[in-house]
Structure formats: structure tokens, C-alpha cells
């Protein structure tokens, strides 16, 4: 039982959330702010590695920044779709590798959604 928030954000210039899910649903807006502000770091990291070759690029951005209670991790696809995950910082079970594999799974799911012919790119994603 640890709070996790997962968010998928569209590519610029819109940068609006395609999918947001937080495990404790109360006080969700706080996580919205956390994720929203973390996009600054994501943008910065993307622009910093802009010169690196695309295929060499690591999609996983690592820890974006720690806050008192949470850790914010980022991941960005080659098409600049961003994944952000906020986890409880007290949870030591989640190491970098776990986070990385979670992002991979998330990326795979996202790819599956994109493959759905009934999905319009840019629409909000609904999960059952």
C-alpha cells in the first residue's frame, strides 16, 4: 500500500495529460501540481540531451526531483510523449530498476493504445 501516481502527458506544444491515475484518490490535485511542475525538469532534460543521437538515447530520465514525501521519476518516448511517476519516497522497495521496468510496461501499454484503430491520438485515455 504505497501511493503511486502515474501520468501520461502529450507531446508539446499542448502538454496536456492524456492519462492520470493515482492510487489514493484523495488530494489528487496536489499530485497534479507535482507532475505539472516536474515537466519543467523533463523539458530541461530533453533539451539537454537533444544533441545525443536519438537511438542512443536512454528513454528513462531517472529521478526528476525528490520532494519531502515523494520521488518523481520521468520517462520520455522518442515522440516526446512523457511518462511521469510519483512514488512515496519512504518506499525503499522501489529501486531504479523497478521504476525502469514499470515505465517499460507503461510504454508498452501506451503503444498498444496507439495501435487501437478506434483511438484518436490526443484523446484522453480511459483505462478499465
Amino acid at each position: 500500500e504505497w501511493p503511486v501516481l502515474v501520468s501520461v502527458v502529450c507531446s508539446p506544444p499542448q502538454n496536456y495529460p492524456l492519462y492520470i491515475r493515482s492510487v489514493p484518490t484523495e488530494n489528487e490535485l496536489k499530485f497534479h501540481y507535482t507532475v505539472h511542475t516536474s515537466l519543467d525538469v523533463v523539458d530541461e532534460k530533453i533539451s539537454a540531451m537533444g544533441k545525443a543521437l536519438v537511438d542512443q538515447r536512454e528513454l528513462y530520465l531517472g529521478l526528476l526531483y525528490p520532494t519531502e514525501d515523494y520521488k518523481v521519476y520521468g520517462y520520455v518516448t522518442n515522440s516526446k510523449v512523457k511518462f511521469v511517476m510519483v512514488v512515496d519516497s519512504s518506499n525503499t522497495a522501489l529501486r531504479d530498476n523497478e521504476i525502469r521496468s514499470m515505465f517499460r510496461k507503461l510504454h508498452n501499454s501506451y503503444t498498444d493504445i496507439m495501435c487501437n484503430p478506434f483511438y484518436n491520438p490526443g484523446d484522453r485515455i480511459h483505462s478499465r
Partner: protein, 1143 residues
């Protein structure tokens, strides 16, 4: 040290702190005017040296911060300038006393001070003093700058002396321990002679000298001193001062690397100073530095810059310094300021990630309990720093927190204005603009959840500010742009609060200008309701204007010289502007249909919904509507009346929803379908309303041409009946009705119709014109139905023939043809009655009466209106002619027409013909009637011109001829029927009944044979009397009316006697002799010519004789129809000659 200066930057380490303060009562405005002039003197080039002094002015400086002056000398107040207002000499001593008091506040650190006195004149002002300057007024003080420069120079002298004093300290001398306020008690009782202590003293002093060198403009020296200090202090683990030394090193390096400054605006202001740029050139070798702080020519730098830190090292050292500061709780402000300084440097270096780490650290530095104002300041500066490193979202986040802090509940007087202002500044960080147009197209921009929150806060702040208009505008914006993201409950809440606000201050379409010049564009509710399509509707068919044909031609020619041009047809005008091919009429109600839907989960009340138009004065008639919750597409018709003529363009619509007035322009609506928005308004036309004497019909006529029928009337008539239709024409418009044209069109033409179906006299109606508005005219139409009276189905049993053959041959016995109308009743067999039912089926006739009318200015322009009246006539059969035949009459010029008349009505019916008595027919009864008619001479009708014409044509012509014949026959017959019980009467026509054979019989032969006996014309029943014994001249005259010459013929006259019992006695050689030949030879007779042949008969006995004139059967006569040789029979009565008694 408790008050952090968030504006600090690394360059501030080289500045001298001068406090400028007012004493006594100085108008704030005047003080700041002088303060501004003073602070303009921020750099002074010291005389006789290349060095530059930088001054930092403050008008407020907490004395406890001054206590940290030994730690970092730029924190020390070294100069004091006081400004005072002194109007009379009497106040002077008091003022001067105050100046001294003020000096004492910073006394321990001050190098020098100045007093500027304004307003004092006279004796005191004249005495020259170095520390006091007198000015007559705030406007008359040109020498302020000069005075300040002098003052700074004096500061420099003190600084330089201190520097030299400290720098040249011999190691043997006892070096005092410099310490920060909170350290003082820690050193009590410490061994002052230990090596450790001495090193500490040395290190701190080195650091201090470094600070002084930096302030005195000796950058290289300061670097050396700082390096030494770092060495010394590191060895004794004096972390606080080690941090300070490191920071000093960083500051000096930053100053070296970034002459433009790191403070942002402050730096740029410095760069603007003309003197500075010159100095910059002196201090640094040209080309040594570029704007991004990277040395272009490193080799040349090595010598001088070996003590200087590289840009990367600066950050490392800053980190180190901050980590040392972090060990001391009391040095929180120092740490915080160091962080801020480092961030500014990193911002210049464009290393945002590291900068954000510093800032993150700064956020967690816990100072003592901050006041609300300090919190606001802190958050604002964090926001600014984040902004500087390009973290706009983070910046907006902190700015928003600052804004919230302005109105925190703990504050007794919340600063809603400040809160609102700060909130507005966060908008870009949330990719939010307050222009709804930015959100009208494409996908939503930005993070809706946080945007919504911000908008809610804006609404709340503006409400608390006491600006309801602003509040309504923000709330409208929220509703308009975030509609897709609001939950149902939120939609309800937002609209409820919006309604409560608009009750006080309705939303408008005006721009709202904020005090700081920001303009808030109006927010039209284009989504409440959502409009999917806009369609301009044509006028109802009866009101549609039509262009008169002749004028139309002219119109086309004026538009283009081409009859057709593909270029015009495919001109790519904007879809919205495409013109519609119908017109609206001035003064008539015109309609626009909108398909709308309500996206709200509750009933939406739209009030005052009307059209926005341009081009023509348009009286919009607003509508109010109520859309059910989440309705599907819902048609709404907006109406209006154009008041003038010309091109009208429908630009959009206006609504009032939840008390907010919106003007929604179609151009700004995405995904709206239109059929064009521009339509022509033509001048006014009259309006005609028609009412008839007949009942309205349920039958709706659907004419193929697409015209609509405004009124339908129906009537039931018996075949052959005539009825009057009285139409009332009322002008219900405002223009006089000047012109009226009536045309009729029969729709259902399956039935063969004889005679004129509809006939009228327009003149009677037109005499009442022009028809003024409100006036009524009448118009009468005669409806006459005359369908086929024949019974081609032959469903009815024929009347049994009496054996009279209908042949063309003249019958030998004229007496057998005694013609009395045969009244032969033949009731229909019961089993055949069902057939009657079939037979009497009702036929319908439909016609459309078109009224083309015009008047008023529209008539001048060549427009008219068309009103259609549908007429539905049910024709019930009246009588039928089930069979027709002819019987030759006694006269060759006459004939009997036999008609079997059937009464198919359910009433008793009388039928009459010309010269005939009435015949009464019971329902379903069939009777034969015979009508004696003169044969017809049809030759007057057009003949087929020649044999060479086409067959189809000939056939057509033949038909036409037959019709014409029928018509003529019918007109002679004049058959009428009457149903006395219903008091209805009508005509019956035989036109459809007549067949070729009958027609032939009714036709007068073209060869006219006249036989004269004894000079008397013999025909039919005429009996010629003659005397026995006298020769009687017989004259046969042939007149040829045909078009060809006929003949020659041979005729033989055979006399006979009829015994009236079927026996003819031809053996009369004894009784009659011919004088001459009994055979006549007739030569060929040319058309229209005649020839006469004479013979004579001699009767030897008395008696009744007949003469049978027969043709010889030779070839020529075969070619002609037999009926042409229909010679009248001659009846001669020979009598005894009168015995003349001659006495």
C-alpha cells in the same frame, strides 16, 4: 542576521553599502526622487587609478544585518546619506541632532556620512561644510551627483587605508579574531595563544582582506587572499568562515567571468552605463570574455587568471560553501543568499538542472518563523529564479503560492489585489491565456486540472477584490474553456455561482481593462449551447419572390459577358461568404435555422437569442429557449425582419445564458456547417391571401415542379357538371397589389378531358386593382368537368340488337326505318350489379391555379410572387353512352344517332338532347335514345396536306380531325342531364363515344346527288305527283364537293313497286316506259363542278312507284366509299289525269 536579501547576487560582494535615509518629515515622493538620483551614481572611477568602486544603496537596512559586516564586508554599512527637509534656521540644530542620532545607529561601521538639507536658505546654508549639503529645493539640486561622487571618494580613502592597514599586518602583531554575532559567546575563555586559534585569526583576517580588496576594485589581490584564507581555514576546520572564503572566491571569479553581472535587470542597467563599458575594456583585455563567460583566448588568461575559478569550479565551490553554511543554524540567511547567488550564476551559465537543485535546497532552508510578508517575498523570489532558469511551471507554482499567501487566512487584512495580480502573472506558466479564442481551436492546451484551479482562484480573488465584472468574466472563461473537463457537479456549481454573480453584474461583451493595462477580452458562450449548423431558410413558397423572365435576362448579362463561365462557377470564395440562390424580402419575416445542443447535465435556458447581421438594417426578433439536459441536436429558428434592401450577411448570433450576454461570431466557431450566410434582400412585395367558396381539401397536391401549394380545395362533381369557384383575394401585406396573372395547370392528365376544365375572366378582378393593403377582391373560376362518357370497358351488357344493320348501304325500304325513339327498358341483371360498382368508380382531376402577383417597390425591381391553389375535383360518373350507332334517316342529308344511355348515379336522372323529349332514367337504368341529326360536312376541316407527310404526323392529324369532328357533333347534339332530386345538372358529351364508322355515317358525302322529278327535288318522304300519260322529266344532278374529279359513272334507273309486304315488283315494263335511255352516263366531274343529266319517264298507269337508281358496277366507282353513292330514293305517285270536262 535574520532578514535575507533575496535580490543579492555575486557582484554585490564588490559593492560598498550606503544607506540613504530621510530624517524628519520628508515627502516620500521627493525622497525617492533624490534617492533615485543618488543611486544612479553606482559606479565611481576612482581618481588616479584604474579601479572602480561599486556602490549599493539601500533606503532601509536592518542594523542586525550590519552586525555581520565583519563576516562579509559588503554587508557592512559604510556610508550614510540622510535627507532632510528643513525650512527654517530655527529647526536646524534639531535636524542636525537627528542626523547624529542616525549616524550612531550604524556608527560602528560607518566610514563617512552626509546630510542633504533641502529648503534651508540663508546664513547657515552659506557656511561650507563637508558633511552637510544645502539645497534650496528638491528641484534645485544639480550638484547632488557631484556631492555623492565626492562622498564616495572619501569612502574609498577610508577603505583603501583599512585595506592597506590589514594587508600589511605583520604576522608578529596580534591579529584580532573576527567573528559573527552568534559566535561571540563560543569564544569566551578560549586559548588565544594556541596555534589553532592564531591560524583561525589569520584565516579570517585573510578572508576579510580579500573582501576589502574586492570592494576596493582589486580583483586579483582578492583572489589571492581568498585562496590563502581557504587554505588557512580548511586546516582549522573553521567551516563557517571557510564557507565565506569560498563564497568570496566564487564571487570574485564570477565578477571576473561575467562582467555583465548575474543579477538580471540590475546587471543590464549597469551595462548601460557609458563609463562602465569603457572601464570594462580597461579592466579586461579585449576579446577575453564573451557574453556566455567562456574565455575565447584561454592561453593569454592563464597567467592572470590562475587564481580565478573556472565556471565549473565556481559551482563546486558554491556547493561546498553552502554545505558548510548548512552546518550552522544561525547562518541560514547566509546559506539562503548563497543559494540565490549560485542560482543566478547558473542561470547565466544555462545550467538549469543544477540551478534547480540549488533552488530545491533553498526551499528547504529553514529560517526562523517568517512573517507573511517575508513568505510572500520568498515565494516570489523563488518564482522569479525558477523563471530565470526556464522552469516556467515551477515558477508559476511558487508565484501562485505567493499569491495564496497574500490572502492567507492568518493575515488580518488579506491583500486580494496583490493576490490577484500575482495570480495573473502565473497564467503563462500554466499555458493559460485569458483570450477564449486560444481555446476555440484544436485540442486543449495545457493541464486542465491545474488551470481550472487557477481560474477558480482568480474568480475568488476578483470577487474578494470587489470587482464583480471581473469575477463574472473569469467565471465565464472557466465555463467556456474548461467545459470538457468539468464534472457534472462542477458544471452545476459553476453555473449556480455564475448566476448569482450576474444577478448583480451581468456579463457583457466589453473588454475589461485592468489597472495595469491588461485587457480581458469578452468571453462569448459558444458552447452554451453548441451550434452545429446554421442554415438560412428560404421564405415559404407562397412568399418567395421570383424574378420576371425578361428582367432576369438583363440581369445575367450585366453580371458577366459570358453566358457560362467555369471560372465564376468555381470561384473559391470563402464558404461562409458563398451566396445563396434565394432572396429575402424587405419587411417579411425571415428565418435562420440553427441546430444546437446543450452539453450541460441540466436544462439550459437561453434567453434573448437573436441574429447578428450586417449589410442591411435588420430587426431581429429574439427568442428564448429552454434546452433539455444533454439534448441531442435541437432545431432553433431565429427570425427577423429586414428593414432595408441589399446584401445581408448573418455573422452570428447573440445569447444571454446565466446572465452573461454573448455575441458568438460564426467565424470563431469551429465545426459549424452553413449553407452560406449572405443573402440578398429585395424590396417589399405585397402579400396575398386566398380563401375560396369550396371546402379545404385533405388532399395535398404534390406537383412535380417542386412548388408548394398553399391552399388546397376539393369539390365533388358529376361528370359533365359545371361549378363556380369563387376565390377571395385579400392583400394582407403592406404594399398595394398592382398586378395579377392567373394560370392553371392540370396535374392529373390520365383522364381524357373534353372542353375547358377551368375558365375564368380576369378582367372583372383586375378592375378592382390596385388592391390596397387589407382590401379584398374576388375572382371567379368555372370548373367544368367533362370526362369520357363512353364505356370502353364494355362491362355493361349491350342492349340486344334489333337486327338493324348499321351498314353504309342505303336501305331499300324507307318505311322500315320508321324512327321513333325506341324506348326499351332493360334492367340490369342482379348478378351484374357488382360490375356496376366497378363501373361507377370516381375519377379525380387535379389542377393548380397559379396566381402571380406583384406590386410596390418589388414590382419596380421586377419581382413577383406566386401563390398556388390546388384544386381537387372528384368526378363521379353521371351517364354513360354504352353503345352508339347510326341509322340512316329518310333523307340522305340526315341521320339517326342511336345512343344507349346508362345512368350510373343513384338518382333518377333525365336526359335531353336538342329537339328531343326528355328521357327519364332510373338509377342503373340503360335506355336507348335516338337523335336525328343533319349530316355533317366535315370538309371544311383541314385535310392532310399530301400523302407524303410522315405517318405519325398523319396519324396525329387524323386524331385531331376526329376530335374536331366529335366536338362539332357534340355541339349539335346538346345532350344534357339533370338530377332533379339533387338539383344538379350537366352536359354529356358523345365525343369519346364516336368511332370511325359512326363518324363516317354522320358525314355528308362529298358527292351530292340531286334528283329532280318534274322539276321537283326528290328526297326522302317527298312524294312527287304526276299524271299518267304525261312524260315526266327526270333530272340527275351530280355536284362534286370532293377534291378529286370523279367519274365517269353509269346509272340505271329501275322503277319498282313496293307492296309493303316485303315484295318488290320490278316487272313494270308495261306500266312505265322511259323516254330515251334508262341509263345515264355521267362524265367525270371536276371538283366543285356539277353535271346534270336529263331523262324522262312516262307512266302508263296510276300507282305508287319508286325509282331505284343504281350504279353500274364498273371499276371506277369501286374506289370510292359506298356511302358516297347514296342517292335518295324517288317516290312518284302517278294519278289519272284530270278529265277536263269541256262542255
Amino acid at each position: 542576521m535574520s532578514v535575507p536579501d533575496y535580490m543579492q547576487c555575486a557582484e554585490d560582494h564588490q559593492t560598498l553599502l550606503v544607506v540613504v535615509q530621510p530624517i524628519g518629515i520628508v515627502p516620500e515622493e521627493s525622497f525617492f526622487r533624490i534617492y533615485k538620483r543618488i543611486s544612479a551614481v553606482s559606479q565611481v572611477n576612482v581618481r588616479d587609478s584604474q579601479r572602480v568602486l561599486y556602490i549599493r544603496y539601500r533606503h532601509h537596512y536592518p542594523p542586525e544585518n550590519n552586525e555581520w559586516g565583519d563576516f562579509q564586508t559588503h554587508r557592512k554599512v559604510v556610508g550614510l546619506i540622510t535627507i532632510t527637509d528643513c525650512s527654517s534656521a530655527k529647526d536646524w540644530p534639531q535636524t542636525f541632532e537627528k542626523f547624529h542620532l542616525q549616524k550612531e545607529m550604524y556608527g560602528s561601521t560607518l566610514y563617512d556620512s552626509r546630510l542633504f538639507v533641502f529648503g534651508l536658505q540663508g546664513e547657515i546654508a552659506e557656511q561650507p561644510r563637508t558633511d552637510v549639503a544645502f539645497y534650496p529645493s528638491y528641484d534645485d539640486c544639480e550638484t547632488v551627483e557631484k556631492r555623492i561622487e565626492d562622498f564616495i571618494e572619501s569612502l574609498f580613502i577610508v577603505l583603501e587605508s583599512k585595506r592597506l592597514d590589514r594587508a600589511t599586518d605583520k604576522s608578529g602583531d596580534k591579529i584580532p579574531l573576527l567573528c559573527v554575532p552568534f559566535e561571540k559567546k563560543d569564544f569566551v575563555g578560549l586559548d588565544t595563544d594556541s596555534r589553532h586559534y592564531k591560524k583561525r585569526c589569520q584565516g579570517r583576517m585573510r578572508k576579510h582582506v580579500g573582501d576589502l580588496c574586492l570592494q576596493a576594485g582589486m580583483l586579483q589581490d582578492s583572489l589571492v587572499h581568498y585562496h590563502m584564507a581557504v587554505e588557512l581555514l580548511r586546516s582549522v576546520n573553521d567551516f563557517l568562515w571557510l564557507g565565506a572564503a569560498l563564497e568570496g572566491l566564487c564571487s570574485a571569479s564570477v565578477i571576473y567571468h561575467y562582467p555583465g553581472g548575474t543579477g538580471g535587470k540590475v546587471g543590464s542597467r549597469r551595462a548601460q552605463g557609458g563609463s562602465f563599458s569603457a572601464e570594462a575594456g580597461n579592466r579586461h583585455r579585449p576579446g577575453a570574455l564573451t557574453s556566455n563567460g567562456i574565455n575565447a583566448d584561454t592561453s593569454a588568461e592563464i597567467g592572470r587568471a590562475k587564481n580565478c575559478l573556472s565556471p565549473e569550479d565556481i559551482i563546486d565551490k558554491y556547493k561546498e560553501a553552502i554545505s558548510y553554511y548548512g552546518k550552522y543554524k544561525n547562518a541560514g540567511v547566509i546559506e539562503l543568499e548563497a543559494c540565490v547567488k549560485a542560482v543566478r550564476v547558473l542561470a547565466i551559465q544555462k545550467r538549469s538542472m543544477e540551478a534547480s537543485e540549488f533552488l530545491q535546497n533553498a526551499v528547504y532552508i529553514n529560517l526562523r518563523q517568517l512573517s507573511e510578508e517575508e513568505k510572500i517575498q520568498r515565494y516570489s523570489i523563488l518564482s522569479e529564479l525558477y523563471e530565470r532558469i526556464g522552469f516556467h511551471r515551477k515558477s508559476a507554482f511558487f508565484k501562485r503560492i505567493a499569491a495564496m499567501q497574500c490572502a492567507a487566512p492568518s493575515i488580518p487584512e488579506p491583500g486580494w489585489r496583490a493576490c490577484y495580480k500575482l495570480l495573473l502573472e502565473t497564467l503563462p506558466g500554466y499555458s493559460l491565456s485569458l483570450d477564449p479564442k486560444d481555446f476555440s481551436k484544436g485540442t486543449h492546451r495545457g493541464w486542465a486540472a491545474v488551470q481550472m484551479r487557477l481560474l477558480h482562484e482568480l474568480v475568488y480573488a476578483s470577487r474578494r477584490m470587489g470587482n464583480p465584472a471581473l469575477c463574472v468574466r473569469h467565471l465565464s472563461f472557466l465555463l467556456q474553456t474548461m467545459l470538457d473537463f468539468l464534472s457534472d457537479q462542477e458544471k452545476k456549481d459553476v453555473t449556480q455561482s455564475l448566476e448569482s454573480y450576474t444577478a448583480k453584474c451581468p456579463g457583457t461583451m466589453e473588454f475589461i481593462t485592468l489597472p495595469d493595462g491588461l485587457k480581458l477580452p469578452p468571453v462569448p458562450f459558444t458552447k452554451l449551447p453548441i451550434v452545429r449548423s446554421v442554415k438560412l431558410l428560404n421564405l415559404p413558397t407562397s412568399l418567395r419572390p421570383h424574378k420576371m423572365k425578361s428582367l432576369l435576362g438583363q440581369n445575367v448579362s450585366t453580371k458577366s459577358p459570358f453566358i457560362y463561365s467555369p471560372i465564376i462557377a468555381h470561384s473559391r470564395g470563402e464558404e461562409r461568404n458563398k451566396k445563396i440562390d434565394f432572396q429575402w424580402v424587405q419587411g417579411d419575416v425571415c428565418e435562420v435555422q440553427l441546430m444546437v445542443y446543450n452539453p450541460m447535465p441540466f436544462e439550459l435556458r437561453v434567453e434573448n437569442m437573436g441574429l447578428l447581421t450586417t449589410g442591411v438594417e435588420f430587426e431581429s426578433l429574439p427568442a428564448a429557449l429552454s434546452l433539455p439536459a444533454e439534448s441531442g441536436l435541437y432545431p432553433v429558428t431565429l427570425v427577423g425582419v429586414p428593414q432595408t434592401t441589399g446584401q445581408i450577411t448573418v455573422n452570428g448570433y447573440h445569447t444571454s445564458v446565466f446572465g452573461v450576454f454573448s455575441d458568438c461570431l460564426l467565424d470563431n466557431l469551429p465545426g459549424v456547417k452553413t449553407n452560406g450566410c449572405t443573402v440578398e434582400v429585395i424590396p417589399a412585395l405585397p402579400r396575398l391571401q386566398i380563401s375560396t367558396s369550396l371546402p379545404r381539401s385533405a388532399h395535398i397536391l404534390q406537383p412535380s415542379s417542386g412548388d408548394e401549394i398553399s391552399t388546397n380545395v376539393s369539390v365533388q362533381l358529376y361528370n359533365g357538371e359545371t361549378q363556380q369557384l369563387i376565390i377571395k383575394l385579400e392583400n394582407i401585406g403592406t404594399e398595394p397589389l398592382e398586378k395579377l396573372e392567373v394560370t392553371a395547370k392540370t396535374v392529373n392528365t390520365k383522364e381524357k378531358l373534353y372542353g375547358d376544365f377551368l375558365s375564368w375572366k380576369l378582367e372583372d378582378t383586375l378592375s378592382q386593382f390596385p388592391l390596397k393593403p387589407g382590401k379584398i377582391a374576388t375572382f371567379t373560376v368555372n370548373i367544368k368537368v367533362k370526362l369520357d362518357f363512353s364505356c370502353q370497358e364494355n362491362l355493361l351488357q349491350d342492349l340486344s340488337d334489333d337486327g338493324i344493320s348499321v351498314s353504309g348501304l342505303p336501305l331499300s325500304s324507307p318505311f322500315r326505318q320508321v324512327v321513333k325513339p325506341r324506348v326499351e327498358t332493360k334492367p340490369i341483371n342482379p348478378q351484374e350489379s357488382s360490375k356496376v360498382g366497378d363501373f361507377s368508380h370516381v375519377k379525380t382531376l387535379e389542377a393548380i391555379l397559379n396566381f402571380k402577383y406583384s406590386g410596390g417597390p418589388g414590382h419596380v425591381e421586377g419581382y413577383y410572387r406566386n401563390l398556388s391553389l390546388g384544386l381537387h375535383v372528384e368526378v363521379e360518373p353521371s351517364v354513360f353512352f354504352t353503345r352508339v350507332s347510326t341509322l340512316p334517316a329518310t333523307s340522305t342529308r340526315q341521320c339517326h344517332l342511336l345512343l344507349d344511355v346508362f345512368n350510373s348515379t343513384e338518382h333518377e336522372l333525365t336526359i335531353s338532347a336538342r329537339n328531343n323529349e326528355d328521357l327519364i332514367l332510373h338509377a342503373g337504368e340503360c335506355q336507348r335514345m335516338a337523335i336525328q341529326v343533319d349530316k355533317f360536312n366535315f370538309e371544311s376541316f383541314p385535310e392532310s396536306p399530301t400523302d407524303g407527310t410522315q405517318f405519325a404526323n398523319a396519324k396525329q392529324l387524323e386524331e385531331e380531325r376526329q376530335q374536331a369532328k366529335g366536338l362539332e357533333i357534340n355541339s349539335k347534339l346538346d345532350i344534357c342531364w339533370k338530377i332533379p332530386s339533387l338539383k344538379r345538372e350537366g352536359e354529356a358529351s358523345v365525343e369519346g363515344v364516336l368511332n370511325q364508322l359512326v363518324l363516317e355515317h354522320l358525314q355528308l358525302a362529298p358527292l351530292q346527288w340531286d334528283i329532280l322529278v318534274d322539276g321537283k327535288l326528290c328526297d326522302c318522304d317527298i312524294v312527287v305527283d304526276c299524271k299518267v300519260g304525261d312524260p315526266i322529266p327526270l333530272e340527275v344532278k351530280l355536284t362534286n364537293w370532293s377534291k378529286h374529279s370523279v367519274g365517269p359513272f353509269a346509272l340505271t334507273v329501275t322503277p319498282y313497286q313496293d307492296y309493303q309486304n316485303g315484295v318488290h315488283n320490278y316487272e313494270l315494263q308495261d306500266a312505265i316506259t322511259f323516254v330515251g335511255s334508262n341509263t345515264f352516263y355521267i362524265d367525270s366531274v371536276k371538283p366543285t363542278k356539277d353535271s346534270v343529266y336529263f331523262g324522262a319517264l312516262l307512266f302508263l298507269y296510276t300507282g305508287d312507284f319508286y325509282l331505284n337508281i343504281k350504279f353500274h358496277e364498273d371499276n371506277c366507282s369501286r374506289e370510292l366509299p359506298l356511302s358516297w353513292f347514296c342517292l335518295p330514293s324517288v317516290h312518284i305517285r302517278a294519278m289519272e289525269p284530270m278529265v277536263q270536262t269541256k262542255l
